[in-house]
Symmetry: C2
Subunit: 452 residues, 2 copies
């Protein structure tokens, strides 16, 4: 018999890990709701006509495709087979697994445009699938936790939504007790304007990669790297002088705006954003931030933990024309996405999971004989009626085995019922971690756990 | 441009429906945890070697299969194509979507048998996929909410776990405020024994179908139907005499046990079950209940609402050899599964969703000008700091449009900030449903919503 296995790049999540993942999801979801986002869920499967062409050629390759049901070859001819996989594919597969939550959201907005009240604030927390080569920290099934606001372009002119999302990010990580992180902010127009100004139009990514090294390798090295791409070193020098000039953000933005006349809108939006922000703690203006260039059109964000070596754990920004690919124009938006898996790794590495996120069962009721157990059944039901997660060891077993069960399942308390306990109505309650033992009545036990 | 669509048999869940679904899931999950079940999550994709052959031939047809990534035809030859879909399939697809939560659970237990502490209590709430023909109430993607206890057969001998699951069922539907339901109970050995006794061995399903009609069409009609299948009417008559004799459950079971000597174990287990049950309210002994004959080996359950026309909304029972198909013997268990979609329909039809399950946002803050809005930003942050889900209308807009937004999004309260309100620190708070208006300070508002 073959040993069972799971597909590579996928994972089972056992009790402790699932409980911790649920704690993160619950925290993010509570903040989404606190900020008045409404839940949306879409199917795991989408029509390939919806998915294909939305993520570039590479993305199309990474879509998981589902074979049509029944006799899937019925539409195929010999020449489809002869021409190979890419020719046969459209004849045998019409559906694929969602690749992200944004395209399904855009599809939903288009299909329900007449029922939706704009601006529409939705959150969505669901798994996505990508046929990427699995490696450390990269999986073929992973969760995204997205919140977006969409509406007409006119509804996005004053920049308050950027501020709201910044506060939301801080609230999420604050509740997760992560203190060491920074929110990097840039503006797509400003990024393009600077790259253009230094002679690297069309080479925005290499430009950002070079600029990103400013802190690490210094100005000279950045100049060399930009020179290698044919950039204008004199103009770059004047930019770097401003950036490294330790100015306040408003005057930095104003000085750069004077140099780069093509990006006035971008500089103005960044200025307004920083002006409206209640405080700039943890918010870093970073001109080397280049997030999804083809998609975003305004302010962009990225969150990085600062005390662990980890890529971005959250990111997002302003976009226009979300739905134009589905024939609905003039839908603009702003969104933020939290990466569950990376956040998990950070929280785990820093030891920030609260004890309560691990196991929920508070007490195991143990017993010596059937009569004790029958008595225990009433007791466990009474504890549960008081919302105390508890368990009756549901077989006659040696008391040692019952205690081991509690220990292995991280159940913190064990209650023992013997004949004497039944007579006196006082039960012995032992805390496994400390070994401390108390003799308590049913009411006292309920009272104790109601306060834990 | 093609209008976007979703695959047939799948659904988008908009804000209100998703919120209600989450309310049901949360309720079930809370009870699972209260009863000391631990969470497990498995990947959406499983290897086809794990799924195939576990659900019968029909089930294999209903599996959604995923095409291998990249050049999926590289292992295929001309003769595979010539022989048709069923021959080509294993060459081009190695993975499928999970069909239920039981087989992935069994796989998990086998793969992690050395780390698991038995008896192992797990719950799992995830979607499953079946390529069934879509029809009313039948979808290609739907949620299952399962709780199972597995261990060695010795750990299941005293029948307490059956009692626990019965109480769990009552707790779930109690919390969902569903009063009108019944839990039908039968035992697989008893069912087989009776069918055998009346000469319908191997025809258990037609026998149960006939017996199920006893209440509706009467004893004569049941006898006729059984006769049509060649059953022994005299023996059936003696069974029906006992069943319709209005006896207490203990004496009913004891009388039948005397007739049907082959099912002693089954009758004993049913007797113990009813004896251990704290109360038999809503629990019906129903000899016509035949649930998953090939799978269950002991007591079986099914829950049906009694005031709406709907099939079973929950079901389960005792099984042996869960994992033998994966090479691990002697793993027995008992499980219960709740069907989210049907429960949703019942709760909806009976109007049992609490108002709080629909929308979470309590208050919309509206304003007349930018200064008011800046003021509102501070106010909304303060409300959120007090855990009050609230929203600032984040653009300058006509006040009427802002009120409409609250109305359409079911936000119950609207707070208005004008210049006067900013001066006095008293804000006008309007309840949309009643039209009632109050003038309140920030502290009074926070106090009010903390008590809603």
């Amino acid at each position: 018999m073959q040993k069972p296995s799971i597909p590579k790049g996928t994972r089972d999540f056992g009790p402790e890990v699932t409980a911790k993942r649920k704690y993160i999801i619950k925290t993010i979801e509570e903040v989404f709701r606190l900020y008045a986002f409404n839940p949306l869920e879409t199917p795991a499967m989408e029509n390939l006509s919806v998915l294909t062409g939305k993520y570039g050629d590479e993305g199309d390759q990474l879509l998981f495709k589902i074979i049509n049901s029944g006799d899937f070859l019925k539409k195929s001819e010999q020449r489809d087979f002869d021409s190979g996989s890419q020719s046969l594919l459209p004849k045998i597969a019409e559906k694929g697994l969602r690749y992200d939550l944004t395209v399904p959201f855009a599809r939903y907005v288009v299909m329900n445009q007449n029922e939706i009240t704009f601006p529409f604030k939705r959150y969505q927390i669901q798994p996505v699938w990508r046929a990427d080569r699995p490696q450390k920290g990269r999986y073929r099934e992973f969760y995204q936790c997205d919140a977006d606001i969409v509406g007409t372009q006119a509804e996005f002119q004053q920049g308050w939504k950027e501020v709201e999302l910044t506060l939301l990010i801080k609230e999420v990580f604050g509740r997760l007790r992560l203190k060491d992180f920074e929110i990097k902010v840039n503006h797509r127009d400003v990024l393009f304007g600077i790259a253009d100004y230094v002679g690297m139009k069309g080479q925005e990514i290499p430009f950002c990669v070079a600029l990103d090294k400013l802190d690490k390798i210094g100005m000279e090295a950045v100049l060399q790297e930009v020179a290698a791409h044919g950039g204008n070193l004199e103009k770059l020098g004047s930019i770097l002088d401003v950036i490294t000039g330790k100015k306040s953000i408003p005057s930095l933005l104003s000085d750069l705006k004077n140099l780069i006349s093509t990006s006035e809108k971008g500089f103005n939006e960044l200025s307004t954003y920083f002006q409206n922000l209640p405080d700039t703690e943890k918010v870093i203006l970073d001109f080397s931030l280049a997030r999804g260039l083809s998609y975003y059109t305004g302010i962009i964000f990225e969150v990085k933990p600062t005390s662990v070596d980890m890529g971005s754990i959250s990111g997002g920004g302003r976009y226009d024309n979300l739905t134009s690919v589905f024939g609905l124009s003039n839908v603009s938006g702003i969104g933020i996405s939290f990466g569950l898996d990376r956040i998990y790794d950070v929280i785990q590495e820093l030891g920030l999971f609260p004890a309560t996120s691990k196991a929920s069962t508070k007490v195991l009721i143990t017993h010596f004989n059937t009569e004790n157990m029958q008595h225990g059944m009433k007791l466990v039901q009474n504890l549960r009626a008081h919302n105390i997660s508890s368990e009756l060891y549901a077989e006659s077993s040696k008391i040692k085995k019952q205690f081991q069960y509690a220990d292995k399942n991280s159940i913190p308390f064990v209650l023992v019922i013997g004949d004497k306990e039944m007579q006196t109505g006082k039960y012995s309650l032992k805390e496994l971690s400390s070994g401390k033992q108390e003799s308590l009545s049913e009411d006292e036990i309920i009272n104790k756990f109601s306060h834990i």
